[in-house]
Symmetry: C2
Subunit: 143 residues, 2 copies
DNA sequence: TAGATTGTTAATCGATTAACAATC
DNA sequence: TAGATTGTTAATCGATTAACAATC
């Protein structure tokens, strides 16, 4: 498989948001040129980016917004469940653990790490706080 | 002034971290090749990136770590004080407001915005929570 | 069919790298 | 001076864009 550049992936994620918002507005069909204008780039760029992954449009018509959004979600792995580790359990870490949007997007926090010895071993939601040094081992075990 | 690419800026910020950690280890001089290896890139890339902003090294010797770190800090605007607005005052927003590292890095939160009507007008640390719709106006007034 | 827009090739542009004279 | 490494030019590589045949 040919190497896909970072820039392409980043743009794909922008197209995804564009499609989401157009779908909310009730738009069911969109051209590469419309997507391009909404992202201040060229339509050739949009078509090129998509072409790395397949052919999703209809010549003369453009793209079905729902379908294209769905296909980009697949490309970006947005449908998968991800088991993730949280590193740092201070105020921000705690807030992130409670941030439901992650769960909704398929990111499930399955481990917590911190370097404060007084926090080690503490139990939160079935999770025990681990030493940061252990992070690599824990992740390796999951592979 | 010639346009500097995003990639260059992103790398500069990596060099900055590399220098910080080398300085901590007591390293006082570094070559473009050493910086490159620590960042998995070529030495030509490092020298090219720096060359957009001036000449910082000594031929035959390399770069003084302290000096180069300082000069990159200037390039990246790390010495400036920044007045910033916080958008969203839920759990994460609250944690970010209390995160001292921002203040230390020169980012001073001077306004808070949220879209929850029950939060509007609340007073936190001398700051009144504003409507998100007002964010652009508030920022514009600062310019 | 005529008009529109895709998917893709070829041309262009910009970023990375190799090479080397300058010089510490 | 000899060795090392910079700063910069020129060559290479890869990403963006223009152009257009295919086709809805």
């Amino acid at each position: 498989m040919k190497k896909i550049s970072d820039s392409t992936i980043r743009r794909l994620s922008k197209y995804y948001r564009t499609l989401s918002s157009q779908i909310e507005k009730g738009v069911s069909t969109i051209s590469s040129n419309e997507i391009a204008q909404l992202n201040s780039i060229t339509s050739a760029q949009v078509r090129k980016d998509l072409s790395f992954f397949g052919t999703f449009g209809k010549r003369g018509l453009g793209y079905n917004t729902e379908q294209l959004k769905d296909q980009i979600a697949n490309i970006l792995g947005l449908k998968k469940e991800w088991r993730v580790g949280l590193v740092g359990f201070g105020n921000i870490g705690r807030a992130l653990l409670r941030y439901d949007e992650f769960k909704k997007q398929g990111f499930n926090i399955k481990a917590i790490f911190d370097n404060d010895p007084t926090k080690l071993g503490q139990q939160i939601d079935n999770l025990k706080i681990d030493k940061i040094e252990d992070a690599c081992n824990v992740v390796a075990k999951e592979k």
